[in-house]
C-alpha cells in the first residue's frame, strides 16, 4: 500500500516538474547512437567522449553501434527518437555527402548540432613509386598523364570529397578505386595497388616514418605537431581544409535548455586532460565549437559539398 502511494506521489511530482528540467539534466542514462561499426574512427573517438560525458554527469552513457549505409541507418533511427536529450548521436562530413549524392534525405539541419568535439587532420599520402615522391612532382605527373594516378577512396565518401577538392584546386585528374575505410586504403597504398590516398597519422604515420609512404601535404591551416615537416595545402598554393570533424547532435525539437545543458557538459568534458590525451593518442585533435559556431561551420561545409557533388557521382 505504502509502495503504491509512493509511486503515485512520484508520478505526480514528475508531472508537476514537467519534462526535462535543464538543471536536472541528465537524470537518467543517455543513449549514444554511433551510426558506425565498432573499431572504426568514429566508434573509438565517441567511446572516449561517451566515457568522459559519463564521468562528468554521473550518468551512464552507453554507446550503441548502429552501422549501415554509410551511417544513414543509425541516423534515420536516431531522427525518430524522442527529442528529450536522452538519445544523442554523432555526425561527420559523410552525412553531408550522402545528402548531396541523394542517398539520404537527412542533412545536418535535420538535427540540432550541439558541439563539434574532434577534428582529425587528413594527409595526402603517396605510395613509394618511380613517378613522383612529393606533392609538386605528383601534380606535374598527373597534369602530363591525366587519369594515370590511381587514388584509393571510399566512393561517395569523405575521402572522395577530399580528393575531389584537390583535383578541383590544382586542376588535375585522378582515376578512382573504391576501398572501404582508411585501413584498407593504407594497406593498398603500401602494397602498391594504388598511388595516392587520404591517410592520417594513426593509420599511416609509422609507414611514413619507416620510409614506405610519403605524407605529401596536410589539409590544415597550419602544420601539425605530429608531422611538422609536411607542408600545408596553403603553402602549396590553395587553402584546402581536409579534416574529418565529428560533432554531437540531438534530435530536432529538443528543448533549448536541455541543448544548452548538454553543450555545457561537453565543453567541460573537452577540457578534461585525460579525454584530450586519449583523443590525441588515436590520432585526432580535441576541439570544441558550441552550437552557433558548429552550425556556421556545417553551413559553410555544406556549400563546398554541394559545389563538388557532381564529381562524386561518377
Amino acid at each position: 500500500m505504502f509502495r503504491k502511494i509512493a509511486v503515485a506521489a512520484g508520478l505526480m511530482a514528475a508531472a508537476i516538474a514537467g519534462p526535462a528540467q535543464a538543471q536536472d539534466y541528465p537524470e537518467k542514462p543517455i543513449e549514444f547512437i554511433v551510426p558506425w561499426g565498432p573499431g572504426g574512427g568514429s566508434d573509438t573517438l565517441m567511446r572516449i567522449v561517451a566515457q568522459g560525458l559519463a564521468d562528468e554527469t554521473g550518468q551512464a552513457v552507453p554507446v550503441i553501434n548502429m552501422p549501415g549505409v554509410g551511417g544513414n541507418v543509425g541516423l534515420a533511427e536516431f531522427a525518430k527518437r524522442p527529442a528529450d536529450g536522452y538519445t544523442i548521436s554523432q555526425v561527420h562530413e559523410g552525412l553531408l555527402i550522402s545528402n548531396g549524392t541523394g542517398i539520404t534525405d537527412l542533412n545536418w539541419d535535420s538535427f540540432m548540432p550541439i558541439a563539434l568535439v574532434t577534428s582529425s587532420p587528413q594527409y595526402l599520402t603517396l605510395s613509394k613509386n618511380d613517378n613522383f615522391s612529393n606533392f609538386e612532382e605528383m601534380v606535374a605527373y598527373a597534369k602530363e598523364n591525366p587519369g594515370a594516378v590511381r587514388a584509393g577512396v571510399t566512393l561517395a565518401g569523405v575521402p572522395h570529397l577530399h580528393m575531389a577538392m584537390i583535383e578541383d584546386a590544382f586542376g588535375i585528374e585522378f582515376s578512382y578505386v573504391g576501398y572501404e575505410g582508411t585501413g584498407q586504403r593504407i594497406r593498398a597504398l603500401v602494397g602498391g595497388n594504388i598511388d595516392v590516398a587520404i591517410g592520417d597519422v594513426s593509420s599511416a604515420g609509422q609507414f611514413v616514418e619507416n620510409g614506405d609512404l610519403v605524407f605529401a601535404a596536410v589539409g590544415m591551416p597550419e602544420r601539425t605537431a605530429e608531422a611538422p615537416d609536411v607542408p600545408t595545402f596553403t603553402e602549396l598554393g590553395h587553402a584546402l581544409d581536409l579534416a574529418v570533424t565529428r560533432g554531437v547532435v540531438l534530435p530536432k525539437g529538443t528543448p533549448q535548455d536541455v541543448a544548452d545543458a548538454l553543450e555545457a557538459h561537453l565543453e567541460t568534458v573537452m577540457q578534461n586532460d585525460d579525454v584530450r590525451t586519449k583523443i590525441q593518442n588515436v590520432g585526432s585533435a580535441p576541439v570544441f565549437l558550441g552550437q552557433d559556431e558548429y552550425k556556421a561551420y556545417l553551413g559553410k561545409l555544406s556549400e563546398t559539398v554541394n559545389r563538388l557533388v557532381g564529381k562524386l557521382e561518377g
Binding site: 550522402s98 573504391g178 576501398y179
Partner: protein, 507 residues
C-alpha cells in the same frame, strides 16, 4: 629479443592479469557457445574495461576472450547442431552426427583439443614468420583476392550433400541474397524495393542464425511432435576420455597441421577470417581423405579440420596486425583501438618500438590457449548438462538467444523480421533436402568477390591482369583443377553407389 620476451612474459604472468584473462576466457567461451552471440560482441564489451588497465594487460584479456571465442562455437555446434559463431559452421557437419550417435563427450573433446593445437600452431607461425607473411599479404591486390574467392567457391562441391544440383542451387541462392542492400562500392540500394527493412541489406549473421539455428530448432520441434526423438536432445551416458582423445587428435598430424596452416593463411588475409577458414579446411580434409564418404556422418577428421582451421585464424589475424599495424579482422581492429587509446602507435615499427608489448602478446596467446583448454576440459561436464534438459525448455531458450543476438548485432528491430523470414526459407530448403552450407558460403563470398572484381577493374581496365599476375593465375588454375577433381569424384562416387542410391534429379 630475449629481454623483451622476458619483460613481456613478466607482465602477462602477473597475478591480476592472469585472473582477468581467466574471466575473459570464460566470457569468450560462453558468448560464442550461445547461438546469436559472437566473439566480436564479447570483445566490444571488454574494450571499455581495458581502458583502465595497462596496454599489455588489456590486450592479453582481449586475446583470451578471442581464443576462448573460437572454441566456444564448437559447443552448440556439437550439441545442438547450430553453429555458435560463423566460424563453426563446418563443425556442425561431423561433431553433431557424432554427438547424436551417442558420443557427445568425444565430439567436444576432439574439438577442444583441435582448437588448442590449432591456436598453438598459429602462434608458432606468428612468432616465427610474421614479418615476411605480412609483407606477402599486403602485396596481394584485388586480383588475387578475387581469384582466391573463386577458388573458395569451388568448395561448394564438398558441401553439397546428397545432390550436386541442389547444392549448386543453394549456393546460387546465397550469392543472390548477398546482393540485396547497398552495393559494396557506391552504397546504392539494390533489390530493396524501397523497404526500410532491406535498406541495410541482409546482415550475414542474421542470415546465418536464420538459416542454421531457426531451421534446426523447427526441425527439433517437428521431430518431437512426430514422437521420433526422445525428450533430451542427446541420450545415453557420456564419456569424455580426455586423454585418449588428445592422442586421437595427435594421430591425425597431417590433417591437424594442414587445417591449421589453412587457418593461419586465411586469417592473415585482411577481410577473410574464420568464417571461411573452417569450411576451406574441412574441404581440404575431405578431398585428401581416403574415405570422403564418411564426412558428414561423424568422422573425427571433419571435427579436427574445422576446429583447428577456425582457431588458427586467431594467430593468423594477428600477423598483419603485429607486423604492419593492419587489422586482419574486425576483432583485430578493436584490439588495435585498445592499444592506440593507450598512446601506442600500431604500425610496422611496433616490434621495434614496443618489443616487450609484441612479445608479450605472443606469450599471452600461448597462455590464453592453455586457459581455454583448462576451462573447457573442466566445464565440459557442465555444458553436457544441456543434453539432460528436455527439449521443450532448451528449444525456446535457444530461440530467445538467437533473437536477442540478432538484435544486438546492429540494434535494428527490422533485422528480427528478416530473421523470421530467413528462418522460414531455411526450414523450407532443409525440408526439401537442400544443403544449407553452400547457401551460407555464397552469402559470405559473394560480396568479397564482387568488391574485388570491381576494384580490380577500376585499378586497371585490362581483364588479362587476372592471368598475368602470378599468384592470381595460380589460384585461378587451382579453382579449375578443383572443379575437375570434384566432378570426377562425384562421378566415381555415383558409380560406386548406383545400386543403393535414390538419386532422382537426373543431374
Amino acid at each position: 629479443m630475449l629481454d623483451a620476451f622476458l619483460a613481456g612474459a613478466h607482465q602477462v604472468f602477473a597475478f591480476d592479469t592472469l585472473i582477468y584473462m581467466l574471466i575473459g576466457s570464460v566470457a569468450g567461451i560462453v558468448a560464442a557457445a550461445i547461438p546469436g552471440f559472437t566473439v566480436t560482441m564479447a570483445i566490444i564489451l571488454t574494450l571499455p574495461l581495458t581502458f583502465a588497465m595497462g596496454p599489455l594487460q588489456g590486450v592479453s584479456v582481449m586475446l583470451s576472450v578471442y581464443v576462448g571465442g573460437y572454441t566456444g562455437g564448437l559447443i552448440s555446434a556439437a550439441l545442438l547442431g547450430i553453429p555458435g559463431t560463423p566460424s563453426s559452421v563446418a563443425t556442425t557437419f561431423d561433431a553433431y552426427p557424432m554427438a547424436r550417435k551417442g558420443e557427445p563427450g568425444r565430439a567436444l573433446s576432439l574439438g577442444i583439443w583441435s582448437s588448442f593445437f590449432g591456436t598453438v600452431i598459429s602462434t608458432i607461425v606468428l612468432i616465427v614468420a610474421a614479418p615476411p607473411l605480412a609483407l606477402i599479404a599486403v602485396k596481394l591486390g584485388p586480383w588475387e583476392y578475387f581469384a582466391l574467392i573463386v577458388f573458395a567457391l569451388t568448395i561448394v562441391a564438398s558441401l553439397v550433400g546428397n545432390s550436386l544440383l541442389r547444392g549448386l542451387i543453394a549456393g546460387v541462392i546465397g550469392l543472390g541474397l548477398a546482393t540485396v542492400g547497398p552495393d559494396p562500392m557506391m552504397g546504392r540500394p539494390r533489390l530493396t524495393f524501397d523497404a526500410d527493412m532491406l535498406m541495410a541489406g541482409l546482415p550475414f549473421l542474421v542470415v546465418l542464425i536464420g538459416i542454421f539455428a531457426i531451421s534446426q530448432l523447427m526441425g527439433e520441434v517437428e521431430d518431437h511432435g512426430k514422437g521420433k526423438g526422445t525428450d533430451a536432445l542427446i541420450p545415453d551416458v557420456i564419456e569424455f576420455k580426455t586423454w585418449a582423445v588428445m592422442r586421437e587428435v595427435l594421430m591425425h598430424p597431417v590433417n591437424l597441421v594442414r587445417s591449421s596452416l589453412v587457418g593461419v593463411f586465411i586469417g592473415a588475409l585482411p577481410g577473410a577470417g574464420g568464417s571461411i577458414a573452417n569450411l576451406l579446411a574441412y574441404d581440404q580434409a575431405k578431398r585428401s581423405s581416403k574415405n570422403p564418404e564418411e564426412f558428414g556422418k561423424g568422422t573425427p577428421d571433419g571435427v579436427i579440420a574445422s576446429e583447428a582451421g577456425n582457431s588458427a585464424t586467431a594467430g593468423g589475424g594477428l600477423i598483419p596486425m603485429i607486423a604492419l599495424g593492419i587489422p586482419g579482422s574486425a576483432v583485430d581492429a578493436i584490439l588495435m583501438a585498445a592499444l592506440m587509446v593507450h598512446g601506442i602507435s600500431v604500425g610496422p615499427r611496433l616490434i621495434m618500438d614496443n618489443a616487450d608489448l609484441a612479445y608479450g602478446m605472443f606469450v599471452a596467446m600461448a597462455v590464453a590457449s592453455l586457459m581455454m583448454l583448462v576451462v573447457c576440459v573442466l566445464s565440459m561436464r557442465l555444458f553436457l548438462r544441456v543434453t539432460d534438459i528436455p527439449k521443450q525448455f532448451i528449444v525456446p531458450t535457444v530461440m530467445i538467444c538467437c533473437v536477442i543476438g540478432a538484435f544486438a548485432l546492429n540494434n535494428r528491430v527490422t533485422d528480427l523480421y528478416l530473421l523470421g523470414a530467413i528462418g522460414l526459407v531455411g526450414y523450407g530448403l532443409k525440408s526439401l533436402d537442400y544443403p544449407l552450407a553452400p547457401l551460407v558460403l555464397g552469402v559470405i563470398l559473394g560480396p568479397i568477390a564482387e568488391t574485388n572484381l570491381r576494384r580490380a577493374l577500376m585499378s586497371d581496365g585490362d581483364w588479362t591482369v587476372f592471368f598475368t599476375r602470378p599468384i592470381s593465375a595460380v589460384l585461378l588454375a587451382a579453382a579449375v583443377l578443383s572443379v575437375i577433381f570434384s566432378v570426377r569424384s562425384v562421378l566415381k562416387m555415383r558409380k560406386k553407389d548406383r545400386p543403393a542410391t535414390d538419386e532422382q534429379d537426373g543431374d
